[in-house]
Amino acid sequence: MIGEASSAKVHGLHLGIVALLLVLNFILPDYHQSLLSRILVLSVFAMGYNLLFGYVGLLSLGHAMFFSAGLYGAGLAVAHLGWSVPAAFAGGLVCGALLSLVIGVLALRTIGVAFMIVTMMFSQAFFLTILYFAAWTGGDQGVVVPQAGRILHLGALSFDLVDPTVRFIAALVLFSICLFVTTAIIRSRHGRVLVAIRENEERTRMLGYDIFANKLAAVVVSGTICAAAGAAYALLFGYVGSNFASIQYSILPLLWVLLGGAATTLGPLVGTLVMYYVIDITSFYTSAYLLIVGVFLILLVLFFPKGILGTIRQRWLGWLP
């Protein structure tokens, strides 16, 4: 199925998308440039979610904790400890990786509905912990990351992440790295084992693959990618708040992935983009954005369980990654 020709097509498509986004940076008006950089960071979050939900078939309702592990790991390191941008970003990644390792070891003992509830419970405990240590985390008020700490020094060069263009490019770099990393993972041997687990766990076990180890690796990679999105969000947008750890932020990546198409590489970007612009456009007419989210969720599971790109792949473009 994945031949040389289609491989070239896939990489070409991904490069084309990245190039298109780079061009958009220079032609979009300020408001849309800022919105799009936020969408890029959040679609990295959705990509991390997609790796677990789309390819392994594990529905987690607790990914907000991985996102906010990165968010708080990076944001508080700058705000309280005065760490530099690269150190804080790495700190956020480490927090997300360690947390997802612990949660993965525990939660993967369960399957199906129990897995969803366990991840939701752990995420809720994490959210409450953030509220409990309000002295450091600012509780539900959150913490503003000081602008002085958000300057990236690379050798002699320094980039001010507050600047809209720098911020957009930084978000795009992160997005591109994650896009190519996830594409590489799902096309690797490990990635095919993950899909095999999704399709038939028992048969994969019988073929001699270690189900637990493969799933755990997927949880850790997924959690770390989400943490990367969180850390980038803290550094680029300068705000860390408990809202990002609430159950709503566990459900949003599920919505974005379902909308864009689960188990497609570009689905997370498409889903996040469409959802953000739907809310943005309808906000002229109504403030009832939760209603739109709810209606979208129900319509999607009822009529388009494969999402936008999943449907396109099924009907017209079989090679779509």
Binding site: A107, R109, I117, Y289, L290, G294, L302
Partner: protein, 293 residues
């Protein structure tokens, strides 16, 4: 206040929350037990019950008891009807497939929440209790209404138990829970049983909400805590086990009341949530349940 009376007060408060909790959790447990559907919108159906109770008691007017009684009858019926519509229009079309129904009930959660915010508003509003009697204990006075909540919940629980174990409806429900396909083969209208169970689960949550609303106001975000606590109760008690659900509700309600009176409520919630997650990880059938076949 000395330690003894303080503890008594905590136990009384805990009993009240346990009573309401066991009704709410029983609704969740029935729906999961019979239909294998995890209803994430259960907390919002609870909230809807409370908000409707405010609206009905306001519309009726007159003495508080009249409005309250009207709410106690009408609010559960309306909530049950809403649940019935959701079941027919959405859940049945998804063939009760677990992942899809979870996503759909999340959608339902947002829709109900937004409707409440739009039509009811962000304020928290009280409903006057049907009667005001203070029962004088030697150390403090205690609200008679709160004690009547415990009695009313016990009555509803007893009625549910009788229906489940002593009537034909209960027999049909248990048969569906035990083996859906065999039940269907024996001519049980599984489809209608599912619709009825989903409505019944929602009505139990609504009754609990109407009972609690005179002592804790109606608010559009009030559904989240009951949802999590019901999950906790249902998991500890063993999914689909009625006796386990009631025992766990009393256990959780009491310990929640006592712990949050002496320690920070946030800390109490963190510990409870972590314990439940661990129970689910290491003993998935619950503390009182038996392993599934």
């Amino acid at each position: 206040m000395a330690f003894g009376p303080h503890l008594l007060l905590a136990v009384l408060e805990g009993l009240v929350s346990a009573a309401v909790l066991s009704l709410t959790a029983l609704g969740l447990s029935l729906v999961f037990g019979v239909m294998r559907v995890v209803n994430i919108a259960h907390g919002e159906l609870f909230m809807l019950g409370a908000v409707l109770a405010w609206a009905i008691s306001n519309a009726v007017g007159g003495p508080p008891a009249l409005g309250f009684l009207a709410a106690l009858v009408l609010a559960p019926l309306i909530v049950g009807a809403v649940a019935l519509v959701a079941e027919r229009l959405v859940l049945r079309r998804l063939h009760y497939e677990p992942q899809a129904t979870i996503v759909a009930t999340i959608g339902l959660l947002y829709i109900i929440q937004q409707m409440a915010l739009t039509f009811y508003g962000p304020e928290a509003r009280p409903v006057p209790p049907p009667f005001n009697i203070r029962i004088a204990l030697p150390w403090f006075g205690y609200s008679g209404y709160k004690l009547s909540i415990v009695a009313a919940s016990a009555l509803v629980l007893l009625a549910t138990w009788l229906v489940l174990t002593r009537t034909r409806i209960g027999l049909v429900m248990r048969a569906t829970q035990y083996d859906r396909e065999t039940a269907q083969a024996f001519g049980i209208p599984v489809d209608r049983v599912y619709a009825g169970v989903f409505a019944l689960g929602a009505m139990l949550a609504a009754i609990a909400a109407v009972l609690i609303v005179p002592i804790s106001q109606a608010h559009y975000l009030m559904g989240q805590d009951p949802l999590l606590l019901s999950f906790i109760v249902v998991i500890i008690g063993g999914l689909g086990s009625l006796r386990g659900t009631v025992v766990a509700a009393v256990l959780i309600g009491l310990s929640d009341g006592i712990v949050s009176m002496f320690f920070s409520p946030t800390l109490a919630k963190i510990i409870a949530t972590l314990i439940v997650a661990m129970v689910l990880v290491f003993r998935p059938q619950g503390l009182f349940g038996t392993p599934t076949r």
